[in-house]
């Protein structure tokens, strides 16, 4: 399909679709919408999963489809792509701020931790409640595939960290 019309309203429209597990983030904030093509009432949306086993992808696909149908698009195709692989570096700044306000520490830029070096920890993961960077990792795996579990050494609050990927 070739894009014959202005698609920027479509990008804005898809901001209404949120991640079902982190509802404060839109799929645009997350960076999982990779491409949109449109022609008359036909739309193709290309999305990429955050993690291969992320159960939210099926719900997200369905929600994109519903939203486009409600807005008059009739021929909708949603395609998944794996390469280039999703990275937390694609998360928007607005998205990171929303995450922090929601109580989840946003990902640090992808750095030395995304390798196999043992006992490495992300530097200076700030507590989303009190802002202290005196925090420690409790577990590299958290409540969803994309998060790790941390605790603040100052205010003692446990919190989720959207881990770099």
């Amino acid at each position: 399909m070739t894009t014959t019309k202005n698609i920027s309203p479509l990008w804005s429209l898809l901001e209404q679709v949120s991640d079902p597990e982190v509802p404060v983030l839109s799929i645009i904030d997350l960076g999982i919408v990779r491409d949109i093509k449109a022609d008359n009432d036909e739309v193709e949306v290309v999305i990429t999963p955050t993690y291969t086993g992320c159960p939210a992808m099926d719900v997200i696909s369905m929600n994109i489809r519903m939203l486009l149908l409600e807005n008059g698009y009739k021929k909708i195709s949603i395609r998944q792509t794996l390469s280039p692989a999703w990275t937390t570096d694609w998360m928007s700044e607005a998205g990171k701020q929303k995450l922090s306000a929601y109580g989840i520490a946003p990902p640090n830029p992808v750095q030395q931790v995304c390798n196999t070096q043992l006992f490495a920890e992300d530097e200076a993961v700030a507590c989303p409640l009190c802002g202290s960077i005196h925090t420690r990792r409790i577990s590299e795996f958290g409540s969803t595939a994309c998060k790790a579990l941390y605790q603040c050494n100052d205010c003692h609050e446990p919190f989720d960290y959207f881990k770099c990927h």
Partner: protein, 251 residues
């Protein structure tokens, strides 16, 4: 239809599905809550990889084949997973060690598979490698914690090492479809990964104060060509029973 490539993709998929199924048995039974969550997260990553691979195998096969028919309606002899992945969980030490052996192998494998001439396999490897990096780190750290931990934890993981070691050689003995796909440039020359794997294992075992076993010893084989231990039958009985009893049932 390229049956060799299909077999290769199924082999990669079966490894991840069966180990995922095994790890998921820990759900609600982990030694502490955080590690219960960790092992089941790893299960979820592995099943995600299995889905990508089965979806691709289904596309290659065509017809009525889907990711679900491949997972739920094949018999034991059609599964091509390495024997290590189907072994019982044992205690925490045995589960950790199995994950460490497997993730280290998978990391080396996916690094090479990035260069596959098959674009879909390369993309799956690129995506999965990020997840496996976390698995390697987590399982290595736990091997060290247990080996260099208490007398009890050391003794248990040392016992696991004796029990599991003879199932690790199979990774590096290529099945026909591995040799053929490696020659075509779609697969990976698996024997060449053995030395880097041994080096990594040795580093971690040394840090864990565990003895490095002899690499040239008797190794169990057969899983890659469908000759399994009795364990796989029990896994499939549990995993497939719903689809076998109520064909086509949906959630």
């Amino acid at each position: 239809m390229n049956q060799t490539l299909i077999n290769y993709v199924l082999h990669l998929a079966d490894n991840t599905l069966i180990l995922s199924q095994r790890n998921s048995e820990w759900c609600g039974h982990g030694p502490v809550l955080e590690q219960d969550i960790a092992i089941t997260n790893i299960s979820l990553d592995l099943i995600g990889q299995a889905r990508s691979l089965y979806q691709y195998a289904a596309t290659l096969q065509g017809g009525n084949v889907t990711e679900d028919t491949l997972a739920y309606l094949r018999d034991e002899r059609a599964f091509k997973n390495c024997l290590l992945t189907e072994l019982p969980n044992g205690d925490w030490g045995q589960t950790i060690l199995r994950q460490f052996f497997f993730s280290t192998y998978q990391h080396l494998l996916y690094e090479k598979l990035l260069n596959s001439k098959d674009e879909t396999l390369a993309a799956i490897a690129e995506k999965s490698l990020k997840e496996v990096t976390y698995h390697v780190r987590w399982s290595s750290e736990w091997v060290i914690r247990l080996g260099d931990g208490t007398e009890e934890s050391h003794q248990r993981i040392a016992k696991a090492l004796k029990e599991l070691w003879s199932y690790t050689g199979e990774f590096f003995i290529p099945a026909d479809y591995e040799t053929a796909t490696a020659n075509e440039g779609t697969g990976v020359e698996i024997a060449a990964l053995q030395q880097p794997w041994l080096n990594k294992i040795q580093d971690v075992l040394q840090e864990a104060t565990l003895p490095m076993p002899e690499a040239k010893t008797y190794m169990h084989t057969g899983g890659k060509t469908g000759i399994h231990t009795e364990n796989l039958g029990y896994i499939l009985a549990e995993m497939q029973h719903l689809q076998r009893s109520y064909p086509g049932v949906e959630w």
